[in-house]
Point group: C2
Chain length 115, copies 2
């Protein structure tokens, strides 16, 4: 029944892997949520209330930065972290695109098998 087997399908941009992987961690998701609610925050502020060390927070922030989800800016002796507007919008669009892909897949699947 499958239309093809060996074709290697879509290209899978590396960015998407980075994006999903960055969000696929409880602590990081909490950090994002936190930055969503309470504007730009320093590392020590973010550490307050979290049950992990400051260094752990730092590492997570770097992962999020690697995915382009957050940005930092030095501000005196502290560094303020915030969500990255533009990249975030891109991510939203990308997720929407994935969704529509899935929609297409749904339609195609319905024609295939109806459980």
């Amino acid at each position: 029944m499958p239309r093809s087997l060996s074709r290697n399908a879509a290209p899978i941009p590396n960015e998407s892997v980075l994006l999903f992987a960055a969000l696929g961690d409880k602590t990081r998701l909490r950090l994002v949520s936190r930055l969503c609610e309470d504007g730009p925050l320093s590392i020590t502020m973010l550490t307050t209330g979290a049950r992990i060390s400051r260094q752990a927070v730092t590492k997570h922030l770097r992962v999020l930065q690697g995915a382009g989800l957050v940005r930092s800016k030095r501000h005196g002796r502290e560094r303020l972290w915030q969500l990255h507007h533009q990249r975030l919008a891109e991510a939203r669009r990308y997720l929407a695109q994935i969704s529509s892909q899935w929609d297409d897949a749904l339609a195609r699947l319905r024609k295939h098998v109806e459980e």
Copy 2:
């Protein structure tokens, strides 16, 4: 400037972590894409063309199953894997929700700092 510091923000459902983590891998993303395009496939079919062993594919499928993204059904001596319609729709809705959350955050951020 931040409105609060110690509040622990949103609850972060465990499902979302599972979902993102499952999609945060190049090989798994490729598998999903493949299942999207060419209806239900067996493990051996999925292995054909991939550069990893059958067992590796099996493991990845289990991760995707853990996130509720795929399902399998025995069919004779082979097991056919396909995307999970209903769960997939839930995931889409969830991603949309995240997006809107981010929209709100954007608006709030603009009031905060305009780079």
